[in-house]
């Protein structure tokens, strides 16, 4: 077992829904409702789910862009919310960086590439300008962008190149953990593999840990060591990636994997029947009782709508479903 770098313990984020002149709170959107996971040093952990499942909220919480309603985030064994401002500035912020989904909006259009990539260095270190630019040119070299790109503006690059620049910026402070929020979903299919390989190379080179947020299962399978499937603010299944893809336990996981295999109806053989989910995810304002998935689950029984299932170990992985006893 590798060392645990970051641990989320029962994290909860509820957004208030207000109405009327007095901004009365009429309900809560349960974006994340009791999620726990661990990220190991040098490994990739993926969060998978439909839009609205709460993946991005978790990413924002880890990056301290949102404050949790309850629960803890432990970084190197210490509670992040108990850090002082100075500790955050030296012991957490520089160590946890991120690459965002959309490379067209994640860079200030009026800054040059050298200032964009150098910004974390300007902010966090006292290096003089020349030294920062030297470092920037090394970083750009690592991600395969030539030094002639230094003085250009972001709009002069293609999507794939911009995402490389975003990776260079994320690496500038030698972080331990990168939060990759859909790092390749905005890119052309032909570029995705390049960026994923770059990220994998950098991981082995610097012993980086990744949290990957994704909805594309191929990306997840290719990149991650551990994976968690989210549904409506909760984990339904988590564990080792290969095991999960070979032997999915939860009906929702099976439906996701089946949907991603791109079988056409006429291709379907008797054995491999595609599972198609009907309807949409229920509103997180008012999640269904019992198992949250029972409204769309083909295998739901009576118990599923009444009792909330526990997370249980089945084989190597963990699943939250009444069908496993």
């Amino acid at each position: 077992m590798a060392e645990v770098l970051l641990e989320a313990r029962d994290i909860v984020k509820h957004y208030p829904v207000t109405r009327g002149l007095l901004q009365r709170t009429v309900g809560w959107v349960r974006a994340v409702d009791g999620v726990s996971f661990t990220v190991e040093q040098g490994k990739t952990f993926s969060l998978v789910g439909e839009s609205g499942a709460g993946k991005t909220t978790i990413a924002k919480a880890i990056l301290l862009l949102e404050r949790l309603t309850s629960g803890n985030i432990l970084f190197e064994g210490k509670d992040v919310y108990k850090f002082s401002a100075a500790q955050l500035k030296t012991g957490y912020r520089p160590k946890v960086q991120s690459v965002q989904q959309n490379p067209w909006s994640s860079m200030n259009p009026r800054m040059r590439v050298r200032d964009i990539v150098g910004e974390p260095l300007f902010v966090n270190t006292k290096q003089p300008k020349k030294e920062v630019y030297d470092n920037v040119s090394k970083l750009l070299d690592q991600v395969g962008i030539g030094a002639e790109g230094m003085t250009r503006y972001p709009h002069e690059f293609s999507g794939g190149q911009r995402q490389r620049i975003a990776v260079a910026r994320a690496l500038a402070l030698h972080p331990n953990l990168l939060v990759l929020d859909e790092p390749v979903s905005a890119l052309d299919v032909s570029i995705r593999a390049q960026i994923m390989n770059l990220l994998k190379d950098l991981q082995t080179q610097f012993n980086l840990s990744y949290i990957v947020i994704a909805h594309n299962l191929a990306t997840v399978r290719y990149m991650s060591h551990g994976v968690a499937i989210m549904y409506l603010g909760q984990l339904v299944e988590y564990g080792d990636t290969e095991e999960l893809f070979k032997n999915p336990l939860h009906p929702y996981t099976r439906a996701l994997i089946s949907a991603s295999q791109l079988t056409l109806p006429e291709d379907a053989k008797d054995g491999a029947k595609q599972i198609i989910l009907t309807g949409e995810m229920p509103s997180p304002l008012n999640p269904p009782p019992g198992c949250r998935f029972h409204t769309r689950c083909a295998e739901a029984g009576e118990l599923c709508s009444k009792e909330i299932p526990d997370m249980r170990q089945v084989g190597k992985n963990y699943v939250k479903c009444h069908h496993y006893k």
Partner: protein, 300 residues
């Protein structure tokens, strides 16, 4: 089958040879002409005592309402004629540039500066600061400007700085509103989130990320304000709370000549043309400046 490639070749040739060169010349002209007008006007107002052929305040009651030199009855002594008190219109236009340009440029610098500061602070910091600043803006916007100007004129006495203060006191509110809106849009963008992840302070985000991205609308409003401020100054002069009478300003010259428009059109027409030129070239220059400041448009 054989015709198609020919047509294509022709159209691409045409585009390369004609349209792009023409549009480049046009593009440069729209910047060179207004810039030269501006430079000429600024130099004129600086060196007014050397250029003006007459004392702008000297009256000559025997030579009232003389037409310009190029009209029958006019003399080369007064190239643009004389006004109802026999003062040289050309000299007054030259001296008037001083007042009109300096009032409008100063007011714009003050209002845009304060408004931008308030707008960015209000939009980015939000919460109580935003609530407080926006109520101040509401008050400033609902306060009748002329009443305040009159109060100031009474309290401070009419003069150059009274005009500047009166126009600045309420003028910043519009900028603050506009910039706050833009700031609200930008503060939710991905690159601001990324700056926060990098550990950038609020100061740095406001200065390096928000401010450069509110420049576009700011420049447009500033250039539109050039004309508005010249007209506002003339409005105040007309009410007698502007720059006191013997000193010429374009606005007051237009309103002075209004009564004689049927017999001596030149008195208000020439300063009017100057106001028009400044406003127009201000707008063109603003467009050019905006394009130059925006890296996405610069290379085009």
């Amino acid at each position: 089958m054989t015709v198609a490639p020919n047509i294509e070749a022709k159209t691409t040739n045409k585009r390369k040879g004609g349209v792009s060169r023409w549009s480049r010349i046009m593009k440069n002209l729209t910047f060179i002409i207004p810039l030269s007008i501006f430079i000429i006007l600024i130099l004129t107002s600086i060196f007014a005592p050397f250029i003006a052929p007459h004392d702008p305040e000297a009256t000559s009651l025997t030579e009232r309402r003389l037409p310009p030199a190029f009209i029958e009855g006019g003399s080369t002594k007064y190239l643009l004629g004389t006004d109802s008190l026999g003062r040289d219109v050309l000299s007054r236009v030259i001296y008037g540039a001083r007042v009109s340009l300096s009032v409008s440029l100063m007011v714009i610098a003050i209002t845009a500066g304060i408004g931008t500061l308030m707008g960015i602070a209000s939009g980015y910091l939000g919460g109580r600061i935003d609530g407080f600043l926006m109520r101040v803006v509401d008050i400033a916007m609902s306060f009748p400007g002329l009443v305040l100007a009159m109060l100031l004129a009474v309290a401070l006495g009419p003069g150059f700085f009274t005009v500047v203060i009166a126009l600045s006191a309420l003028g910043w509110a519009g900028y603050a509103r506009l910039i706050r809106g833009e700031t609200l849009r930008i503060r939710n963008s991905d690159f601001v989130a990324q700056a926060r992840i990098s550990g950038a302070s609020s100061w740095r985000i406001m200065l390096r990320h928000i401010f450069p991205n509110v420049l576009n609308p700011l420049i447009i409003i500033m250039t539109l304000a050039v004309g508005m401020m010249i007209l506002a100054e003339s409005g105040m002069s007309y009410l007698g709370i502007g720059i006191p009478p013997p000193t010429p300003s374009w606005g007051s010259m237009v309103s002075d000549g209004r009564n004689d428009l049927d017999v001596a059109w030149w008195i208000s027409t020439f300063p009017g043309i100057c106001i028009g030129l400044v406003v127009l070239s201000g707008n063109f220059l603003g467009d050019w400046l905006r394009d130059k400041m925006d890296p996405r448009l610069r290379q085009l």
